[in-house]
Subunit: 129 residues, 6 copies
């Protein structure tokens, strides 16, 4: 059975590692990306492979997590989205996409895993009707 693929965008290497480990231990294949402009490229070229997006909000340089999520949702309206953040959660009611969640940093790996898994099952179940 191939593994569902999650795009993981996080510029801090240690946090990226924790998140990637947790998602892989849960049976996901992870596409880790540290540079946000690259994340847009992955969305453009590999959207068909993706089952979910986990993205940090504040990212140096290019687009932020809010933009990456909206970009991905244009191609995949039901893509599960988890935002992770230390200080930008207050913008979620304005800049977040519907049916997404916020996980505050510092987080436990199980929070990411539970959040993305729950959103994927909800999307799977809604898609049937």
């Amino acid at each position: 059975m191939p593994e569902p693929v999650v795009l993981l965008v996080e510029d801090e290497p240690l946090v990226l590692l924790v998140a990637q480990d947790a998602l892989e231990a849960g049976g996901y294949k992870v596409l880790p990306v540290q540079i946000s402009s690259e994340a847009l490229g992955v969305v453009d070229s590999r959207i068909g492979e993706l089952s979910g997006l986990v993205t940090d909000i504040r990212l140096p340089g290019g687009p932020d997590g809010w933009e990456i999520a909206r970009h991905a949702r244009e191609f995949r309206p039901d893509l599960p989205v988890v935002y992770t953040t230390a200080d930008s959660a207050a913008d979620w009611p304005v800049k977040g996409v519907p049916n997404s969640v916020v996980v505050q940093k510092p987080y436990a790996g199980a929070q990411l895993l539970t959040a993305i898994s729950t959103l994927m099952t909800t999307a799977d179940t809604n898609r049937t009707s």
Copy 2:
């Protein structure tokens, strides 16, 4: 007891009437607006009075319903938002705000009333914690 105020943005006069009647029958005071640029003005000048927003999405001229809702949420992150639309619902996963709902046209008055009332109670209850 003063009545909670709902900003209602709808350019079609007959639909506006149905919606306003339903909301007033349910005990809300309605601020009806037909011109979308005017809706932004009401948000700017009277945001403190508002308990909810019901907005059509496609509006002639000025900003659309997506923009009005985001503008209102900047000032009031927990403002209940109901979008009404005949043909623009497909953009909700990209352009909608979190914790909002879509009511497809044609709708029954009870749908608006139930939707905005449910969102208001959820906001009241979440605000406590």
Copy 3:
């Protein structure tokens, strides 16, 4: 604005009247049916018009409410379904369809109205993604 149509199946005339009044007062057009075999006919011939189904479970003669709902869902997988019943609720976990609710008799009109309206908005909102 045309009114959304609800198929209402109820063999007791007085209960039918209470339910029909409540739904019409909320802005729905009601197709009232007292004979359950007739309900299947309405589903077959007018499914495209329907926005929701409210059905009693125990019905004399023909199919019961469980069957009517499953029949309607075959054509319209996202059709909102409200079951009303005095004594058959215990079969819901086995015979009910997903994303439906049970309203116990005797009920208040507002329960029907709130239940069908909530399910319709959820279906409208999910359909966007």
Copy 4:
């Protein structure tokens, strides 16, 4: 069809009237009580008749709304509970009962009606399993 009965506890006469009107218009029979010690008596003597409780929190004299709700839940663990309040919502996470909601004053009648109706349908549906 007899009407489901809601115990309504509110010491302000005008607010009581608005609430009672809204609930009765929705098809509920209302037991209005203005004195909180009397509310406990109604719970003790007529709990079997009740389908729901709507209670103000701050009440002069006797027990407050938090106590009334806990008292009623001892006899009826699945009783729907709606708290109404102008200034005591902040205590809900400590003093409220599970599966209850808070409606802030001033409220629209439709908020009460939608809140109690939604909780009753959820209780009806959960009771089946």
Copy 5:
């Protein structure tokens, strides 16, 4: 502390292995069954031991997953049910039981684990009232 038991029905050996590993790693005892008629037998003889059911939908020979779930629910109306499927999800709105979810194949082990755990906690919590 004995482990809660999940009946796992899956005819593909490799998928069964992934699912069993994930559930066992999460602390469940798994009753793995590859032949669907045997699944009915386990339901009949050991229903009292079961805390949840995870079942593939399309199964060679005997009954399919829809039937196994309905059969189990007749004895245990609140049994958590997770359907897994590559191509039969579209029938869920007609053939699924209420309060169940669909997990699309290919899935990550964490999806199964999160889905069954969430349903079990909801059932535990609802059972109290």
Copy 6:
């Protein structure tokens, strides 16, 4: 990245071990407490560090789990609370705090992990608005 801290109250050493292992494997730091009066002390002195509470209900000697949870909620109204119990779940509708869940013993470690993680993400997401 520091780990979110969960206060875990459980007087049975073996159950404590299973729970602690599950939470730590999910990336939480656990404060294990076997004596309930000590749990109140931890709440008093370290509430600012806590991200969640998992507590057994029936505890020898001092306060029970219902009291510990209410005490913690006084300081942290949005603290996620998971109750674990073999025989006291029936009191949850009266003695539990809102937005909490019950996990029946015997449980799988994944149930605790999923329950606390889901509540934490909900709290994180609601806190934004």
